[in-house]
Amino acid sequence: MPKLPGLIKGLGVTLNTLARTTTQGSNTVQYPREKEAPPVRARGVIALREDNCTSCMLCARSCPDWCIYIEGHKELAPPRRAGGKPRQVNKLDRFDIDYALCMYCGICVEVCPFDALFWSPEYEYSEPRIADLLHDKDKLGEWMETVPEAPALEVGAEKKGKK
């Protein structure tokens, strides 16, 4: 019998939820028809800025799933100053991310020293065929358009970084 108040309280919780859902609508969203805006820094898809990539392979090596495939070659670019030596640059031949394997940990984005990888909040890229989930560098480049501006740093974040 000492449990009785709790039992009645429990019935009250479900009844309240019933009343709230009936009057104010439910927490769920009818997805294909209405969409929720993803939260800030949502991890939807990884975008690639190809010009920044030096094919240093840091992302591919740090990927826990080994879902990033990089191939590149070295090229000679014209020198920056007149009369200088031609510069050696790394050109990407292939930069694929297999989203069938990716677990969205974001380590590749964190580890990239040249700001070539970004998170985009886009999430609607499911495919009927699993092989189509392998996004090549052109497709990853297209995602760059959807990358939002980086949100402002939080108060005090700057201080910690210095020193």
Partner: protein
């Protein structure tokens, strides 16, 4: 209705009508309960929407699901006892159909009018235990067997408080005829005041609570759903069933919920009747014919109310443990209902 059922039609046509009526009285509440309560109310209580795609607000979902189940392959496990395995769901469903046979829906709208209707009802409701037990046994599956045994233990344990709770009603009404119980409630009076009749939910409140708890356990609805505890026993005695036979179990579960709600409304809420004093009716013969139409509607309203309570409890509470369940039945419900019978008998003699 009397004229329709008794005089004009030959016996076979009457029987046919009764069978059709029984099917409607079993399937309609089952479908309504599943859609309104199981699909929608449960979702709303969890701040979800429930099925929304099949028809407006998912109202055709039930037909979609029945269609899906009918297409599925009817699998019998290799080592199962084939014949028993196959008839088990039908035994469970039979119990439901036998139960609805005694429920009166109006002054003349009944299927059968037993003198010992309550006795018959309590006897027949335990037929479903047999179905569940043989389903668990015949599946040749440890989980099914455990579920079946749990169900048997639970249903037998809760049969007793149920019977004892009804005894109070029988003592007060002085009859075991369900029609007579309806009559006794609607012509009754509480200390000389007859504005509401005497629905036994007021004078037999303890019995009503015990009866509803026992019904909850008989239906193996959630606080008492050890037999189908999906986290421990997969789906208990239903584990090996597929397609139409699973559908039969499913229908039987919710149809029995509806029928028990009907019976509870007859025993405790005054059944199809409205207090006879309102219209100056003296007995069953004075009741106007339109009550044969309004009566079933009143019954359905009360059934929805009671099913709402059953389902509400189902969606709110977590599962008992097996030993707690048995202890609750034998150490709490049975003594309380015995005391209730004693008090009812004393008060019956005193007044």
């Amino acid at each position: 209705m009397t004229a329709l059922l008794a005089s004009d039609l030959p016996y076979w046509a009457q029987s046919l009508l009764r069978v059709l009526g029984g099917v409607v009285a079993v399937l309609l509440p089952a479908g309504t309960i599943v859609y309104v309560f199981l699909f929608k109310m449960m979702s709303f209580m969890q701040s979800r929407l429930g099925p929304m795609e099949a028809g407006p607000y998912g109202s055709m979902q039930l037909f979609a699901e029945v269609g899906k189940w009918l297409q599925k392959e009817d699998i019998t496990p290799e080592r199962a006892d084939r014949f028993i395995f196959r008839i088990a769901p039908l035994v469970v469903l039979t119990s439901t159909f036998l139960l609805v046979a005694v429920v009166p829906f109006g002054p003349d709208a009944w299927f059968t009018n037993f003198e010992a209707g309550v006795f018959y009802m309590l006897a027949v409701s335990s037929v479903s235990v047999l179905g569940i037990l043989i389903a668990g046994w015949a599946s040749a599956n440890k989980y099914s067997l455990l579920g079946g045994l749990r169900a048997a233990g639970q249903l037998i344990a809760y049969e007793l408080p149920m019977v004892l709770a009804v005894v109070g009603v029988i003592i007060q009404a002085g009859t075991m005829n369900l029609q007579g119980i309806v009559l006794a409630q609607n012509t009754g009076e509480i200390f000389g005041w007859n504005g509401l009749g005497n629905p036994y939910v007021l004078t037999q409140f303890v019995g009503f609570v015990i009866f509803m708890i026992a019904v909850q356990a008989e239906l193996t609805q959630t606080p008492f759903d050890m037999p189908i505890a999906e986290s421990e026993l997969v789906s208990g005695y239903m584990t090996e069933y597929s397609g139409f036979r699973f559908l039969t179990f499913f229908i039987a579960e919710f149809a029995t919920a509806g029928v028990f709600a009907l019976i509870a409304s007859v025993l405790f809420l005054g059944g199809w009747g409205i207090p006879f004093a309102w219209f100056g009716w003296e007995g069953l013969d004075d009741v106007d014919n339109w009550m044969n139409v309004v009566g079933p509607l009143i019954m359905v309203t009360k059934m929805m109310l009671l099913s709402f309570i059953i389902m509400w409890v189902r969606f709110s509470y977590p599962r008992f443990r097996e030993d707690q369940l048995q202890r609750f039945a034998w150490k709490v419900l049975v003594p309380v209902s015995l005391v209730n019978i004693m008090f009812t008998a004393i008060l019956k003699v005193a007044f």
